[in-house]
Amino acid sequence: MEVTQACLGVPPATMRAGVEVPAGLIEETLERTGVAVTFFHTDGTPYAGAAPEAAGGDALRRLVLEALERNEDQVVAADGRLRAAWPIRLRSRTALVAAGELVLADAEGKDLGERLLAAVAEAVRAAVAAAGARAESEAASESLLQNFEEISLLHHLGEVLRVNRPVAELLEYVCGELRETLDAEAVAAYLTDVDEAGPATLVAGRLPFLGADLPRVVAHLLDGLETDQHVVVNNHCQEDPVLAAISIALDRVVLVPLPVHQGAPGALLAVNRAAGEFGSPDAKLIRSAASSSTIFIENRRLYREAQEMMLDLVRALVSSVDAKDPYTCGHSERVAITCRRIATQLHLTPDEVEYVYLAGLLHDIGKIGTPERILLKEGRLEPEEWQIMIRHCEIGGRILAGIRRLDPIREAVLHHHEHLDGSGYPSGLKGDQIPLLARIVSLADAFDAMTSNRPYRPTLPLDQVRREIENNVGTQFDAPAANALLNVDLSSLMQEFMDRPTSVCLP
């Protein structure tokens, strides 16, 4: 039918996504058909796009609503006018009704009129359905694209999540990527408990308020969060007096809580977007990133706790040696600290630095098996006593033999009395045969012997310690390790000794 064709030919430009009845569609329909049609919602409110008095006005509306209640879609009024109504399903809570009327001249006119009105109705329904389908398809495409972005983001997030990387690095990445993906002015992460170092804030982009106000913004938004909600989407921040008082430029925000350790509050939030409002797909993406981050931060905390526990256990073990010998009290900890300085100076990896530190802590663990009459003897050791004394290297190696992860450390403990020229013990290894860790521990051990009080001699001045090290490079000490130690600020190292964790020492 011609009328239907005309109506279906409504230009696509008028069918925009997200509009229930596309702007202009109804006016267009009226114009093209020449039939007087009016539109109103089933709750009686007029449809914004139609002139309220386009056809029949309130009288028509009442008549049509009554007919609809009786499930009729057509009434002929007493005055000889044909009135028809066509409900159109909308996505809002009220349906839209198109009602039209024609003046009927005679029976033939009635027949024609009915067909014309029916055709108009069909056209309106088809156009609305087409617009709806198009909007839905566009929404689906958008959400598909968004899903791809999300998969890509989460995939790459998985690659940067390493428990030995700092939390700040992860959050920086997350904020940067989210800002790009969401096209937001700023994305910020706020945590109150990161690495026990107090609150942490990371921002990608520019916040429309001072960074110092971020905790207030987060606290206020979290405060308004119902317990069963997981996200705040506020596209009208200026209507909230608290937010408006913080910044006149804060318009839209999406916030997802980051529930980290012991319920310490934190949040991931996106702020402002030039392109429009934030919606649930944005919130969903932030939530995915937030939950990955939360799991990571929690894992990292557990990892750190396990690390700390291991260190504490090692220290407890080591202090049992220190407790036997008051003169070497704190020696292991000082050697470990010196080892760490040397390793850092040598640009070893963080993992290697950690190993060197542990090797320093454990290097004398074998002395737990050395009889106290020898360990504590003042004056020279007899040759057979010396033979027992030097066994602490092998005993230490055996103590650690069962701990597979500490294998490099076991080697360092076993060989920490080897000299570069082969004159050391227990194996008389030379040069590169001595593991690097052992060379570092050996140097740090000698350094501490020179810088602390011993029964047989007082502390040497630092200048003399330097000369001693320089004089023995190549015979006793490894040159790179010695250079590294000589480049360390020795007085700051001494200060670090003073600040070291307390050891168990006999009075």
């Binding site: 495409s141 598909l144 694209l145 791809f148 972005e149 998969i151 890509s152 983001l153 790009e180 993906t181």
Partner: protein, 125 residues
């Protein structure tokens, strides 16, 4: 003139998502669902730019790119999409007009930015 882009991927959803992103950015996009189809479409109407998956049945992404480079007067700048961790012969790449290799899953936003960058178009941040 809308830039003409050919998208070749045997995984239709990926090809369609890429096409959608580029069309939204005002490009004239043709989709081919295997290497042979892409080859024929490119010969019939040479595109300004090509995005192709590496692993496709029949003609793979590298072969497609090599044949088009040999048979068409103009080299078509190309972005190659690969499964993650898939090793590509660097020497083979160097002979072809492949300006970038992107591992799946990739971000459509980033892909669009790379296409615009490669085509020397103004990228609005």
């Amino acid at each position: 003139m809308k830039p003409k882009v050919l998208v070749a991927d045997d995984e239709a959803p990926i090809a369609n998502v890429v096409a959608m992103k580029l069309r939204n950015a005002g490009m004239d996009v043709t989709v081919a669902l295997d290497g042979q189809e892409a080859y024929e479409r490119a010969l019939a109407a040479p595109p300004d730019f090509m995005i192709t998956d590496l692993q496709m049945p029949g003609l793979n992404g590298l072969e497609l790119c090599a044949r088009l480079t040999a048979e068409l007067p103009d080299r078509i700048p190309t972005i190659l999409l690969t499964a993650k961790g898939f090793e590509i012969d660097k020497a083979a790449l160097a002979l072809l007009p492949i300006c970038r290799v992107m591992a799946k899953p990739f971000s459509p936003r980033e892909l669009l930015a790379r296409v615009q960058e490669a085509m020397g178009m103004c990228v609005v941040p």
